[in-house]
Structure formats: structure tokens, C-alpha cells
Amino acid sequence: MSVLVVADHRRGELRDVSYELVTAGRELADALDGELAVAVIAGDTDRFAESLNRPGVDRIYTVENGEEFDNTVYTAAVTELVGRSGATAVLAPNSVNGLDYAPAVAERLDIPLVTDAIDFAVDDGLTVTREMYGSKVETTVAVDGDQFCLTLRGGEFAPAEGVGEAEVESVTVDHPDSGARVKGFEEVGGGDVDIADADVLVSVGRGIEEEENLEVVEELAETLGATLSASRPIVDSGWLPKNRQVGQSGKVVTPDVYIAVGISGAVQHVAGMKGSDTIVAINTDPNAPIFDVADYGIVGDLFDVVPELVAQFE
């Protein structure tokens, strides 16, 4: 009954979720009364293994294979390491790359998969806590199976700290030719404005409804001397350029004041702005998750509130 967690890294850096996976993996291993192994696949494996050698890690497997992510290699390597370690639980990050191999691993091993876990408990079997309906509800899901794979949402567990005494073992994995080959990377969101530099952001979301309504928030930003940013749907619709997007796939911002206008606060958005000093939210839905991270909230229609707010500063 042991646990295998898979580290997440990109372009030479371990991502934070890797250390969180160690914490979660140790908890799961304790509940299963087993060992915790960490898989480090591709990249600077020795350096990553050293960083991940935290208390509670029993073993670290390193698989050298190029610098970057490759879903063919990851699927083969994780499957191989599950066999080698005898792991009954596989814990992967619920990251863009995690979701590019974890479902394939679960399928190859024919074991149940639960994605985007925010918590879990082992009692009579595994129960996983996860959200549904765009974060409006939480659910518990019982998993029927002695072996399973989970992907863990970032930011839910504390990162593991300290130095451990894990054994490091280098493993060679056979894999077929890659069917999806990484050719390079592109930074998006250059251009005229860096929203990460702004002291005050007025950020607009789906609540604005129509492109022509953007002038309502543009006027507020101008009046306050703030920079205009947006949540994903506004950028997807092409109403504002990609360099204005706050969130997991956009920019992470930490302004002095963040004013969220008509933004519900999906987890991907909150990941990009929760570090702001002061957060103000204006939204019609009192249950909108944005109010969970807000310091000040107005439950109301932005089309009523924002013009009144502009008038206050004129």
C-alpha cells in the first residue's frame, strides 16, 4: 500500500504543486500505512530530486529523458514506476501537463481516476472531495478499487519543507516514439501594458455582458488612475487582449488594490489575484466565490454601482 507522487516541472523549474504533492502524498501514505515515493521525470532530475528530498519521502525515482515534458514518456514512466514501487495510489498534479498524462496512466493501468481533488480521506476506502458546477458546490466521491489515481489541485495542501532522507534511484524506462513532440515555447501577453506592474487594477468579468459595456469599467479605471485587466471570458471573446488576463493561464498579479467587477471568482482566476493587498468585489450573486477572497464586497448590479462610484471621484 504505497503512494507514488509525480513531480511537476517546466523549463528548468519545479512547480510549487510538486511540494504540495509531497505533503498530500505523505498524508495518503500514512492513511494507507505505506511508503511514499516521488517520481521525477525528465529535466534536471538530480537537482529536482535533491529539492524534493523532504521529510516523509522514502524514495525518489529519477527518469532521465530530455529537458521537457512529453506525454508519451510520462505515461510510460509513471506506469513503469507504479509497477516497480508497487504503488496502490498515484498522485499527479491537476496541472495542464498532469491532465496530459494522468488519464492515460489510469487507463493503461485500468484503475479509477478522480481529477481536481481538493481533499481526500481513507476510511473504508478512498473518498475524494472535489468541486462541481463551476465551484458552486463541493462533493464527495467514493472510489471503488484498491488501486487508484488522483490529480490534486494546486494550492490546497501546504508545501513540504525541510530536508529528508530519501533514497534516490535512477530508472531507465522504455517507451515508444513520441506522438506529440514539444518544439518550443511562446510567452504570451507582451505588448503595451504589464498588468503585473500596476498598483491598482480594475478587473472586468463576464458580468459586463456585452463588449460595448466595457466603457463602463474603462471610465472607472481612468477615473481612479487604475489599469484595466480582465478574467478569462473577456479575453476569450476577444474584447481585451491576452496581456490583460489575470489568472492561472494569464498573469499572476499582486496590486495594492484589486477591484473585481462582475467576476464570479472561478478558482483559476483567484489563483492569479489572491495575493493582492486589498480586494474589492462587485457582483450580483451573493454566493459568488469572489467574495471568499474579497476584503470588501458589494452585492449589486455593476451597472448601478460603477457609475455611482465614478461620480464619487469626479
Binding site: L99, A104, M132, E138, G179, D256, G300, D304
Partner: protein
């Protein structure tokens, strides 16, 4: 080449909703085409318009009610659709493997060169079906694609995968492949009146497990939804009360204290 698009009719909860057992009360749900799948449909239709795809077929697992949603995909240019449903799915919480049992059977009869689907479904948010399907049927895959160019002659799809933090990975995928499509890939069209009229004559083939050579044991789920509840609010926000004018007055005071607009 032939393109198969997996689509799902998803339920969205009203702002005010109640929970009935382990799901949101039926009266508080509204149904629509999954947002991510709308981008997948658009991508497939664009491939047909560019004469890269000869045929675009949509497949869904859904009850009769879902036909309205599937009809919208047909109105946007999908050629025909397959709708799979069985009593075994009624009220169940299917796991990934049961869904791909169905899609695998449909792939076997349709023999597509490219399968497109949304990154995730808005209601359950699993984000796993496409990649698991690729593994099952022996296709290559790429998840979270936000830029797509198909080079049919070279048998390749050149994609961007949208990674976290404003970085895109440029990836070359050999066909046949399954790609999961991120929002923002394109601008999904609205169905035209002509498209809606034409869609009335397009085929939505209903199928059950038996038609696909499956039985209920194939779609027995390893997962059971045991509880659903509203998360405890972690809010310690000062809620500013009053009408819009009063609220704006108080908020202006707060903002000035923080040095904004002064």
C-alpha cells in the same frame, strides 16, 4: 479526413439553487452545450470549410433532452450526430472508463482521423475523457490546445498547449490524434437561420449500449457521488450595504483610505 467531435450537454446551476440528495435540484438547473465543446465544434467546422475535413460527426452521451443541444451543433455545420443513451446511465455518476467504453465503440465504427473535444465539461469538470480515450484507441494526443493547424498531407497537427502563467507550448502531434480544446481557440459562431433549418434534416442517430456491442457491466462506474453541499463561505469580507449610491459612497471612502483616486 474525418473529424469526430465529442460534445456534452451540461447543466448549469442558477445563482439561487437548492440541493436535492446528491445533486442540484432539477428545477434549478439549465442545460446548454458545454462551452469548451462549442470551441471544438467550431474548430471541426472550420476544418471542413478549409476542405481539410470531408466529414464532421458529433457524438454525445445524453438523454433525449440533449437532442436540442446537439441540433445546435448540427446547425453550426456538423454533418450528423450520434447520441448514445441507455437506462444504465440514468442517475449514475459515470467514471472516465465507462464514457470511453462508449466513445471507443463509436470510434471503431466511424473511424475518424482526428477526435476533438472540450478540455473539460463545465458541470463535472473532470478534464480526463479525451486523453483517456486516446490511450484506449491508440491515438496520439494533446490536452488544452488553444491553437490548431492541421497539415493533412504531412499527417500532423501543429498545436499550442496553453500552460499556466501565460506560456504556450508549441507541439507537433502525429495523426490520428485526440485533441482537447481550450476556450479561446477560435470564435464559435452563432447558428444561422439557414443552418438551423438545415439541421432539422440532419441525422441524429440514437444508439444504446446494445447497438454498440456493450452491456451494462461495461459502464459500471467505480465512482459514487456520496454527498453534495455548498462549501462553507470563507469570506471575511466587509459587505457594504445600502443602495448603489450608498454603497459607492462607502467604497469610495475605503478606496481613498488606500490612496486610490486621490
Amino acid at each position: 479526413m474525418k473529424v469526430l467531435v465529442t460534445v456534452k450537454e451540461v447543466a448549469e446551476a442558477d445563482d439561487d439553487f437548492s440541493i436535492d440528495g446528491t445533486d442540484i435540484a432539477e428545477s434549478d438547473l439549465e442545460y446548454d452545450l458545454n462551452e469548451w465543446d462549442d470551441y471544438a465544434v467550431e474548430a471541426a467546422v472550420q476544418l471542413a470549410e478549409a476542405d481539410i475535413a470531408d466529414e464532421v460527426v458529433a457524438v454525445t452521451i445524453g438523454p433525449e433532452r440533449a437532442e436540442e443541444t446537439i441540433r445546435m451543433a448540427l446547425a453550426k455545420g456538423v454533418d450528423r450526430a450520434v447520441r448514445v443513451w441507455d437506462d444504465a446511465f440514468e442517475g449514475a455518476f459515470p467514471d472516465v472508463a465507462s464514457k470511453i467504453d462508449v466513445f471507443e465503440a463509436v470510434v471503431a465504427s466511424e473511424e475518424p482521423d482526428l477526435v476533438l473535444g472540450g478540455v473539460q465539461a463545465a458541470d463535472t469538470g473532470f478534464g480526463a475523457t479525451g486523453v483517456a480515450l486516446a490511450e484506449r484507441i491508440g491515438f496520439n494526443h494533446a490536452a488544452v490546445v488553444n491553437d490548431l493547424e492541421v497539415d493533412a498531407d504531412a499527417g500532423l497537427a501543429n498545436v499550442h498547449r496553453e500552460l499556466e502563467g501565460g506560456v504556450e507550448e508549441l507541439t507537433e502531434v502525429d495523426l490520428p490524434a485526440v485533441l482537447t480544446v481550450q476556450t479561446g481557440l477560435n470564435e464559435p459562431r452563432y447558428a444561422s437561420l439557414r443552418g438551423i433549418r438545415q439541421a432539422q434534416r440532419k441525422e441524429i442517430a440514437p444508439m444504446d449500449l446494445d447497438d454498440l456491442g456493450l452491456d451494462t457491466t461495461d459502464v459500471e462506474s467505480t465512482l459514487t457521488l456520496t454527498a453534495m453541499y455548498e462549501p462553507e463561505s470563507e469570506s471575511d469580507a466587509e459587505l457594504i450595504e445600502g443602495d448603489a449610491g450608498e454603497a459607492a459612497d462607502r467604497l469610495a471612502e475605503v478606496l481613498r483610505e488606500k490612496g486610490v483616486g486621490v
